[in-house]
């Protein structure tokens, strides 16, 4: 009997757990260790942050799902990984009691998502700083409360400054911030308060609409349209100002300090700010046979787990080398160790990094969206199924092959809401396969805005929660 341990029950870990439980759970031991006893449907936290969705509608309990699909649940936070053959185990701390938990494994899936590195920007974040975040459910709830308090001030006639975007020069997840700024705009419009707010998009992207993926390009009537023009139209239409090519360095009460591509430094004042922090890997300790720290053999300096990618290539070379992106998400030193979702180390950025004259680097990190994380979770699970059954891992999908669809909400109303539907193939440009300057399939890639998007976003909330609960027919729903 093989023992498989999955750390984390988010988009990547939950996908892996469902595939592993349903395929191996009866004969083998599949265990999920998660520091939360619920699954959180992260994309809908955008709506929680403006008070349009109840927090409890975005979560469900994990244990009842696992009981149906033969997965054991351990409610604990993983702390240490001991990967040396012969004695491989995960050490955790049980939530509530703090008791140590030891989970031996034959196969390990590391999928704990990001560490939200608020400490990387002094003054950032809701706990020890002055800005808000929608990257965790408690943060989204806190953001909602602060936003609604701001609305009350506006109702009394006060004019306010709202800043939304990225809070670190190397931050990712611009898509979530874009959804939040659009939802705030739409909400204020509906409340008749839009004229009371000056809204600014502040981001580290090289250009508007870059989203950390070098933008999206689509061909329409023979003309290539870029997401930069599209998002510019969206912002002009909404009266949202923008400032890109900017790295936030520090935040004080009501003041954001930044530096831009030209090397200029400046201060932006705010009454309410939602800025995405830098993402790092979860700070697990990787311990060798003699108790020594072997983290540097397994994770990169940011704490992401190195897998079967080609690391260390300069951007110019990486952008021409699609095969540098990992295919199986398998650690080269420990082949029974996989990393899925945000936890795996990408070989480099997708968007062009920039260093300004002061040697200050401004470079969006590559996003690993929900769809990408789910796909990786599936690839990893199916490869473990192969290995448990004595076969070579036969599943692979590089981000230079993956298609990604993203529906960016711009108001949740099913009557007059809107969303931008974004489809891109591949997520990471493959300039060998697609011989255009963008390295993408311009026919499949798609950008469209309208009410249909709002319907899709609503539908995705329900279909994905259905899938993550492993309810009948879940296999038919793509990641």
């Amino acid at each position: 009997m093989a023992k498989i341990v999955v750390i984390g029950a988010g988009f990547a870990g939950q996908t892996a757990a469902i595939y592993l439980g349903t395929r191996l759970g009866k004969k083998h031991e599949v265990t999920v260790i998660s520091n939360r006893d619920v699954f959180g449907y992260v994309p809908s936290w955008v709506w929680v942050g403006v008070g349009h969705m109840k927090p409890e509608d975005t979560v469900f309990k994990l244990k009842p799902v696992y009981d149906r699909i033969n997965v054991r649940f351990v409610h604990a936070a993983a702390k240490e990984i001991h990967p040396e053959p012969g004695d491989q185990y995960v050490l955790g701390e049980e939530i509530g009691t703090g008791n140590p938990v030891r989970l031996d494994y034959d196969y390990l899936v590391i999928a704990p998502g990001p560490l939200l590195n608020f400490a990387g920007t002094p003054g950032l974040g809701p706990d020890n700083g002055f800005t808000h975040s929608i990257c965790s459910l408690p943060h989204a709830v806190k953001t909602r409360d602060a936003y609604l308090a701001l609305v009350e001030r506006m109702k009394k006639g006060e004019k306010v400054k709202i800043v939304i975007g990225t809070g670190h020069p190397l931050a990712t997840c611009q898509g979530a911030a874009f959804e939040y700024i659009s939802n705030v705009h739409k909400d204020l419009l509906k409340r008749g308060l839009r004229d009371k707010a000056d809204i600014l998009w502040l981001s580290n992207e090289p250009a508007l609409g870059d989203f950390g993926v070098n933008g999206v390009q689509v061909k329409r009537n023979g003309i290539v349209m870029k997401s930069e023009e599209f998002i510019k139209s969206v912002f002009l239409d909404a009266g949202i100002r923008w400032q890109v090519q900017t790295g936030v360095k520090k935040v004080e009460d009501g003041k954001i300090y930044w530096e831009n591509y030209e090397g200029q430094e400046g201060v932006t004042e705010f009454d309410f700010a939602m800025l995405i922090p830098q993402f790092k890997g979860q700070p697990f300790k990787y311990i060798g046979k003699d108790g020594e720290d072997i983290s540097s053999r397994i994770v990169n300096p940011a704490g992401f787990v190195m897998v079967d990618g080609k690391y260390g290539l300069p951007y110019a070379e990486l952008s021409q080398t699609p095969e540098a992106w990992p295919a199986r998400y398998q650690n080269p030193t420990y082949p029974n160790m996989f990393a899925a979702g945000i936890a795996f180390a990408p070989p480099g950025p997708i968007s062009r990094p920039f260093t300004n004259p002061n040697n200050f680097m401004i470079a969006p990190a590559p996003p690993r969206t929900g769809m990408v994380s789910g796909m990786i979770g599936r690839v990893v699970a199916l490869n473990i199924v192969d290995m448990v059954n004595g076969r070579e891992p036969s599943h692979s999908e590089r981000m230079t092959e993956m298609v990604a669809a993203c529906i960016a909400s711009m108001g949740d109303s099913l009557w007059d809401g809107s969303a931008v539907a974004i489809v891109m193939r591949p997520v990471v440009p493959d300039r060998k396969k697609y011989q255009n300057e963008y390295g993408r399939d311009l026919f499949i890639s798609h950008l469209e805005m309208g009410l249909a998007g709002a319907w899709m976003k609503f539908m995705l909330h329900h279909t994905f929660i259905w899938k993550f609960k492993a309810l009948p027919g879940w296999q038919l729903i793509p990641e």
Binding site: S233, V234, D237, V379, E401, A405, G450, M456
Partner: protein, 41 residues
């Protein structure tokens, strides 16, 4: 579409329910067919 704000016609189509129902069907089919291919990798 230009680099400027969306035109009145574009905005009309973005919220014209019948047209949007059509787009909803088309987008779902498009996204489902390309996303489901990944399942077999």
């Amino acid at each position: 579409m230009t680099e400027q704000q969306f035109s009145r016609a574009e905005k009309f189509w973005m919220n014209f329910k019948l047209y949007q129902l059509w787009r909803f069907i088309v987008l779902n089919i498009k996204i489902y067919t390309i996303a489901v291919q990944s399942k077999w990798k």
